[in-house]
Amino acid sequence: MATAGSKNRPLSPHLQIWRWGPHMFVSIMHRVSGQGLVVGLALLLWWLGALASGPAAYAQLVTCMTSVPGYVVLVGISWCFFNHMMSGLRHFVLDIGAGFELKGNRTWSILTSVLGVVLTIAFWAILLLR
């Protein structure tokens, strides 16, 4: 398909050209957390598969996931979820054409990142302290 003339074409300015702002961080983290959630889906399948297989398979999953690396993975996935949810909600606002004013965009970019972390901490606090 696109072969003729597609090599050595000028590229648009990339990341290193621009002065960094929170909106860039949110955008990149949306992609990163979205890819992280692929691991989350794999874990969801493991969870459902173990439940459908029986107590022995479930015990194996519990042993893996209550180890230190297991908790790192679980906390990572929960952060991916809450971060992706908050930046996804930001995308819904941007999709209707709102939130592009410089100041508001900056504020909400910072807030979505912070809220993602806060919700992750709140989730684990409720889960472990109840």
Partner: protein, 126 residues
């Protein structure tokens, strides 16, 4: 209409009229994911504990089973669309990109089928 560059070959042909399809599906499934995953997070917090007995007991009820099956379809669909964008952005070779997208479709459909089967098994007590 030129025949030199890739843009030259399509210039003047107009749009294909379904450019927004992928974008819209990504949003539809995102709304589904929002509700279904909040339900899952709250359900996990409301369960007595996460032991085998508690979780299988919970998923054997019709409403949680249906919502979990819907969650699997919605999240795998959304993930399939999202990972497709990653591949289109970062895999530059056309052959590799095609192979990646084929593999993605296999994994997405197989994963969703496995998840739904597990839920059915739990719900119908096989």
């Amino acid at each position: 209409m030129g025949n030199g560059t890739s843009i030259g070959r399509v210039r003047g042909l107009g749009s294909a009229k379904h450019g927004a399809h992928h974008w819209l599906l990504q949003r539809f499934t995102a709304v589904g994911n929002l509700f279904l995953l909040i339900w899952l997070a709250v359900s996990i917090l409301l369960l007595e504990d996460l032991s085998f007995i508690s979780v299988t007991g919970w998923l054997s009820h019709p409403v949680p089973a249906v919502l979990m099956a819907l969650l699997i379809v919605s999240t795998f669909w959304h993930a399939r669309l999202g990972v497709q964008v990653m591949m289109e952005d970062y895999v530059h070779d056309h052959g590799s990109k095609f192979a990646c997208l084929v593999a993605l479709n296999f994994v997405a459909f197989a994963g969703a089928a496995f998840g739904v089967l597990c839920v059915l098994r739990l719900a119908l007590g096989a």
